[in-house]
């Protein structure tokens, strides 16, 4: 059953349509991520679900009940903010117990449940401290415990790990994924970091300018983007306008064969993931797609090395990313042959 349903959700700030007819159905226990660049309307969407912002049009339902007009404090939603928003004048335990206190629970059971929630995020011994006496990661754990302690219908998280360093962020992502799966809560997570979205989510909704461009499993979004925007955001690196005829696509001097069924004849957009292109010094016989050319730039990133290659037949340059194996293999000016499987050629629809 759908736990959260958004129907045609729309919000303006002034003349700007910040959220534009967003519709989304989230199953019970599902972990969904709204992924998109800064300013695309993720936070506003989340705030409307929480009841902190009122939509101009559209409906929100929670567990089958329409809550569009319900104030935030009656929605039974847990929310974790980027700035953690812990109450600085209350102890960690009081912070966590706050939601239970609002629900009229007596002091004794309140303290017990808050303690249990703190133990769930490995902070059982920290109840008496003030939030300011915790590290950034610990503060976000407390915020998580506080949002979960009253068994909300759904957990909302707005870039909760944005302020943490990379190592800690990865640890917190693992913990969050384990915790949400274990207790089976429905969650909506917001981030602009595609890797974070991949790691955490059952499904990812990619947002652009207030709209959902595509919603699918992380693998499908990453491997089979539907639109130019999604392909670009997923870091394909090569997106061309071309022309299809008899299953072959021409883009400038490049000739690309897609896996069957190929695109219908006419104008098409294609995306080719930079990691799927292989570079070789000599001709590679039997490749489904191959293009000779010259390296124009080589950049060493550490784990990866990227090359730009100008094909001999003219047309757009190719971006190639490969795992660094002992350093940079080709210098600018080097002659190479790029090749890629037909299966890596992704025909876009919009």
């Amino acid at each position: 059953m759908a736990e959260v349903t958004l129907t045609g959700l729309t919000k303006h700030y002034g003349a700007a349509r910040v959220v534009d007819a967003v519709s989304l159905s989230i199953a019970s226990g599902e972990f969904i991520t709204l992924l998109g660049p800064s300013g695309c309307g993720k936070t506003t969407t989340l705030r409307m679900i929480a009841g902190l912002a009122a939509p101009d049009a559209g409906r929100i339902s929670l567990a089958g009940a329409d809550v569009t007009g319900l104030p935030a404090h009656r929605r039974n939603i847990g929310m974790v903010f980027q700035s953690h928003a812990l109450f600085p004048h209350m102890s960690v335990a009081e912070n966590v117990a706050f939601g239970l206190r609002m629900r009229g629970l007596a002091r004794g059971p309140r303290a017990e449940r808050a303690q249990a929630a703190l133990e769930r995020v490995h902070l059982g011994a920290f109840g008496a401290r003030l939030p300011a006496q915790l590290s950034g990661g610990q503060q976000q754990r407390v915020a998580l415990a506080r949002a979960l302690v009253f068994d909300p219908h759904v957990l909302l998280l707005d870039e909760p790990f944005g302020a943490l360093d990379r190592k800690l962020r990865e640890l917190m992502q693992d913990e969050l994924r384990d915790l949400t799966r274990r207790i089976g809560i429905t969650a909506v997570f917001v981030t602009h970091d595609q890797e974070e979205a991949m790691i955490l989510s059952d499904r990812v909704a990619v947002m652009n300018a207030g709209r959902i461009e595509q919603i699918d499993t992380p693998e499908a979004i990453f491997e089979r983007p539907a639109t130019r925007f999604v392909a670009d955001f997923m870091g394909f690196g090569n997106i061309f306008d071309g022309h299809a005829a008899n299953g072959t696509i021409t883009a400038g001097g490049l000739c690309l064969r897609a896996a069957p069924p190929g695109p219908a004849d006419g104008a098409v957009q294609v995306a080719l993931r930079a990691e799927r292109i292989a570079l070789a010094a000599a001709d590679t016989a039997g490749a489904e797609n191959a293009a000779p050319g010259r390296i124009t730039a080589a950049t060493y990133h550490g784990t990866l090395t990227t090359y730009r290659m100008a094909p001999d037949n003219g047309g757009p340059e190719l971006l190639v990313r490969e795992a660094s194996a002992g350093g940079t293999r080709f210098a600018p000016g080097a002659r190479v042959v790029a090749s890629w499987p037909a299966q890596a050629v992704r025909v876009l629809t919009g």
Binding site: R74, F81, F98, G99
Partner: protein, 259 residues
């Protein structure tokens, strides 16, 4: 350059503090007139001052007046500060300037305005006149400190309280109020001092029978020149200093006086 600044600062402080030091020292004179430094030292003018009904009655009046005016002005100032900081209506800046105006308008103008207004409103009772006037005089100090604390307050905390199930009013009481409390308390202490010290407004509104302490002192020195006035003044300085220390403990004086 730094040294020069320090020297200048020390000179300014000396210039400002010197008269107070003179008064405090002279208050311990034994003779019939204040001496600096006293030839013989004594506390007898303190005893005299405390025994003088004109002073003690006026001191009680001033104390009650300061407390009542502050308690009345505080909720008004809270409401006004909220409207200015949180409201979304045109003219908020203008309203703020208007509410803070008594800080900048010459005291004598305000006093005259209050006198005229009280007469027009038919407020004859001296106590009521004084309370009304002192609410007005203390109000801008409260508005200013409360605006400062509300502006610093993180709205996200109120939103967090709401998502946790707190009615907005309850969120205000449990989260907002405790966090802006130091600012409110500092404003109240300030208001107490401002009311207790006030001369100009009270001067227009008091009667022969109802007097405030600063006016009682003024009256007294018209006809007497003994050290009891210095003794009273020293006690006032001590009280003000205590209040300033309390403000410092609550929020830090700089926040209240500065920006």
């Amino acid at each position: 350059m730094r040294r020069l600044l320090q020297v200048v600062a020390a000179l300014v402080a000396a210039f400002v503090l010197a008269p107070i030091v003179v008064v405090v020292v002279a208050s311990f004179s034994d003779g019939a007139v204040p001496q600096f430094p006293p030839r013989t030292w004594s506390l007898r003018w303190y005893a005299h001052a405390i025994g003088e009904a004109a002073f003690t009655d006026a001191a009680w009046n001033s104390a009650w007046l300061a407390v009542i005016a502050t308690l009345l002005a505080t909720p008004l100032a809270l409401a006004a500060a909220f409207a200015i900081v949180r409201g979304r209506f045109p003219g908020r800046q203008a309203l703020q300037a208007f509410l803070l105006a008594p800080l900048f308008v010459p005291a004598i103008v305000i006093s005259l305005a209050i006198l005229v207004a009280m007469a027009r409103l038919g407020v004859r009772d001296v106590g009521l006149r004084l309370v009304g006037a002192h609410v007005l005089v203390t109000f801008p100090y409260l508005v200013r400190t409360i605006i400062a604390s509300l502006t610093r307050f993180d709205l996200g905390l109120e939103e967090a309280a709401r998502t946790l199930g707190a009615h907005p009013l309850r969120g205000f009481l449990l989260v907002t109020l405790p966090l802006i409390r130091p600012g409110v308390i500092a404003g109240m202490l300030f208001a107490l001092i401002v009311s207790f010290d006030n001369v100009s407004v009270s001067l227009f509104l008091t009667s022969a029978r109802t007097n405030t302490l600063p006016l009682a002192i003024l009256n007294y020195v018209e006809y007497n020149f003994d050290p009891s006035v210095a003794a009273i003044s020293t006690m006032l300085v001590a009280v003000s200093l205590a209040a300033a220390l309390l403000i410092e403990r609550a929020v830090g004086l700089r926040r209240v006086v500065g920006g």
